[in-house]
Symmetry: C2
């Protein structure tokens, strides 16, 4: 992605009116800021501003998957029905699966998830326990034909998912693989500026018997959640966490599951009531990740076996691990906005700085802006330069709406003294300083 | 993508046998090197080695699109049939279009291209000539239900395409937009290590009257091509090309179209024969890009208009510009391989260096390899470390097969003198040097 952009050359169709179809604030703001556009029911285009955020979310997800030892692949969106007949899920999946016939009339489907396909890749190429552990993930578009898609990309039909799949010789190894992903998820959400709480979960159509949802707290959440409030202050595993350290990851898992936390489906009122009243947290939440251990549920019907150290063949133990980047974008907005618009965390902001020229055409403003823009660009800062002819008020409103963390305002009066105003979007704080001081601060 | 990888932790299922189904060398080598796996007819998974190359190809394509002023968006894979009824292409497109009905029985399709959808985005948000020029592109999976998919990802049904779409007020402006992409394509293919020659082309189902295919020469090419041999030595436009310079880009276009070049469909025997015999080049080629100017072909039926400086409404003039990254990967292999395997250009090599430990388990070999691997990683070099227990011969064969440009061989005898062997995959040259000298060379 390009580091620096002039707004006059950046396609960002701001809506002046509040779109009526949007029921929740993230959907409203994503439409107003020109981040997305609906193409069909539950199917969206990502416009440049949205695409930048989506890419940054994916980059963080990817880094943490890689850190945890997972290998990135890319499976296709379309799958053959045969694979799903092997696992027995073809009939079971119901109407959410988009079924397709190609020109030869072969039954296919748009993948809603990839357990079957990745198991097929595994069985065709891995024969020995020596090649384990293995975790394969991809970030690819999925389709689930929901009867009532809504809330923009929070609950769309075509959506982007990172799904990882682990393969191990034994259940014990598979639990370690599960803990790797558990730990990676804690780090991922934290880097996205979210506090996610792992909660015991139902396994639904994926199956299995050990599963956690990662839930962030937000008033517009779809599910009711109940947990101990200490979760909001637990430490996040460090960047140098050793993902091969079985005991170490177990300790992280144990700590993060030591207190009560459950969605309404899994809620145990008695256990919740046992928490001291002041420590109870009952709120609404948004699911942002879901991990499953399902043992041999797919390896058995699909014949995914490896030779063990005992010389015998064993069905591999597996799990799957999902995060939806196209859902995370609105989830982050739900967690971080105000009346004026979005407030991006720095890690995923589409731009980290916006230079606002209050009087385009004024030689001193233009000159100062060009210099700031050029210097920030050279320093590798993701910077947007509002070089349009819009009125200053419109420019301020746009900058607030699109949520760029730092605004640098260049006006004719202050620039005459060599000064600019630096505004923090989150706190609203404004400081006047020299151009040089602003540059030093923003490139520090 | 992670910079450094240990082969023991990298999923790269090498095939020992030559896959029988593969008719051309790139398909054979991509299967043998564990880059891809077929999932259904003409539908492939990209395994980690292939994914790394695909990502690097996309990164170069993206950089050159951005440099030329295009804006990246991401449109969905599925489209509503209505849009295509508006343009009149829904019936016309024939059986290559994968038609789908969702659970509400609404007619949809898997996009084979995006002229309609991007025109819809345009008409909904751009109203004035002041917002032009505009070029929107995306890199997204497409589907064309070819009757006979073959040659691996060279001609697959689900394939990755970069498609850009330009919007301008006048034909004159649109021709400048065309020249921007023309120039960007010359740079893109050059950076991918390819010599692509623009040839006048048929416009097929996209339509329009001004179109060029970019063809690389390769013995396995699907089409017969005829051109002046000077094309193989023309200079490529520089990185600092000014894409706003109308005359400058026109000069580039004129130069690159000044000599005869045509595919067999457009071949003019008399014109070709007019070239001095020694300058005639008749060969087989692979199409790696295709650009079209089609004027108001979509804007008129779909009502994509802007207000001009004259206060009146005008249908916009457009073009579309395609490159297939999933096709480029095999095309590059066709152009660059030998009997031992792939020879990647440095710009898109999955790794730029492979450190080969000839005797894993030997303390001095392990120590030297770890140090090399660590230091290369710190220097930001994409490095693969073959730390497996395979025999040295197997490791050499694998390194040659996967085509990493530089091999650093660490053996017990030479490392006793503090030396390693550095092999250039392309030339086969080997040099013995100290570990320090190797590091200096590889991080230079």
């Amino acid at each position: 992605m390009e580091t620096a952009m002039r707004l006059s050359r950046f396609f960002m169709p701001i809506l002046k009116e509040n779109p009526k179809e949007a029921e929740i604030v993230s959907h409203r703001l994503m439409l107003r800021a020109g981040m997305i556009r609906q193409q069909s029911q539950g199917i969206y285009s990502w416009l440049p501003l949205g695409k930048r955020v989506l890419d940054k979310v994916c980059a963080i997800v990817r880094e943490e998957q890689d850190r945890a030892g997972a290998n990135e692949i890319l499976m296709p969106t379309l799958q053959s029905a045969e694979l799903w007949q092997e696992s027995g899920r073809y009939e079971a999946y119901g109407k959410e699966m988009l079924r397709i016939a190609d020109r030869q009339d072969r039954p296919m489907l748009y993948g809603p998830t990839n357990e079957e396909m990745v198991t097929d890749i595994f069985r065709s190429s891995v024969k020995s326990y020596k090649d384990l552990p293995l975790n394969l993930y991809h970030i690819q578009w999925k389709f689930r034909d929901e009867i009532r898609p809504r809330f923009g990309t929070m609950r769309s039909r075509e959506f982007l998912m990172k799904d990882a799949y682990s393969f191990d010789l034994t259940k014990e190894d598979a639990i370690h693989a599960y803990n790797r992903m558990f730990t990676a998820y804690l780090r991922t959400f934290d880097r996205l500026g979210l506090r996610a709480i792992p909660m015991r979960a139902d396994t639904g159509p994926i199956g299995g018997n050990h599963s956690h949802e990662f839930i962030i707290l937000a008033d517009t959440g779809e599910s009711e959640v109940f947990c101990h409030k200490d979760f909001t202050e637990f430490d996040i595993p460090a960047e140098d966490t050793d993902f091969d350290d079985v005991k170490g990851l177990e300790a992280i898992f144990d700590k993060w599951t030591s207190l009560y936390a459950a969605t309404s489906e899994m809620h145990d009122e008695a256990a919740f009531d046992a928490i001291p009243e002041g420590d109870r947290l009952s709120a609404r939440g948004i699911e942002v990740g879901h991990i499953f251990y399902f043992g041999t549920k797919y390896s058995e019907p699909m014949g995914a076996k490896v030779q063990g150290p005992d010389g015998k063949e064993h069905f591999v133990h597996s799990g799957s691990y999902g995060i939806g980047p196209s859902r995370l974008v609105p989830a982050i907005i739900e967690a971080s906005h105000d009346d004026n618009g979005i407030i991006w965390p720095d890690s995923i902001a589409p731009f980290n700085v916006v230079v606002i020229n209050m009087k385009s055409g004024d030689a001193s403003c233009d000159g100062a802006c060009e210099k700031l823009y050029g210097d920030l660009q050279k320093a590798g800062v993701d910077v947007l330069y509002d070089d349009t002819d819009d009125r200053a008020g419109t420019k301020f409103a746009t900058a607030d709406l699109i949520g760029v963390p730092t605004q640098v305002v260049v006006g004719p009066r202050s620039i005459a003294n060599g000064e600019v105003e630096v505004k923090n979007r989150r706190t609203g704080e404004r400081e006047t300083m020299t151009v040089e001081a602003a540059l030093n601060r923003l490139t520090a």
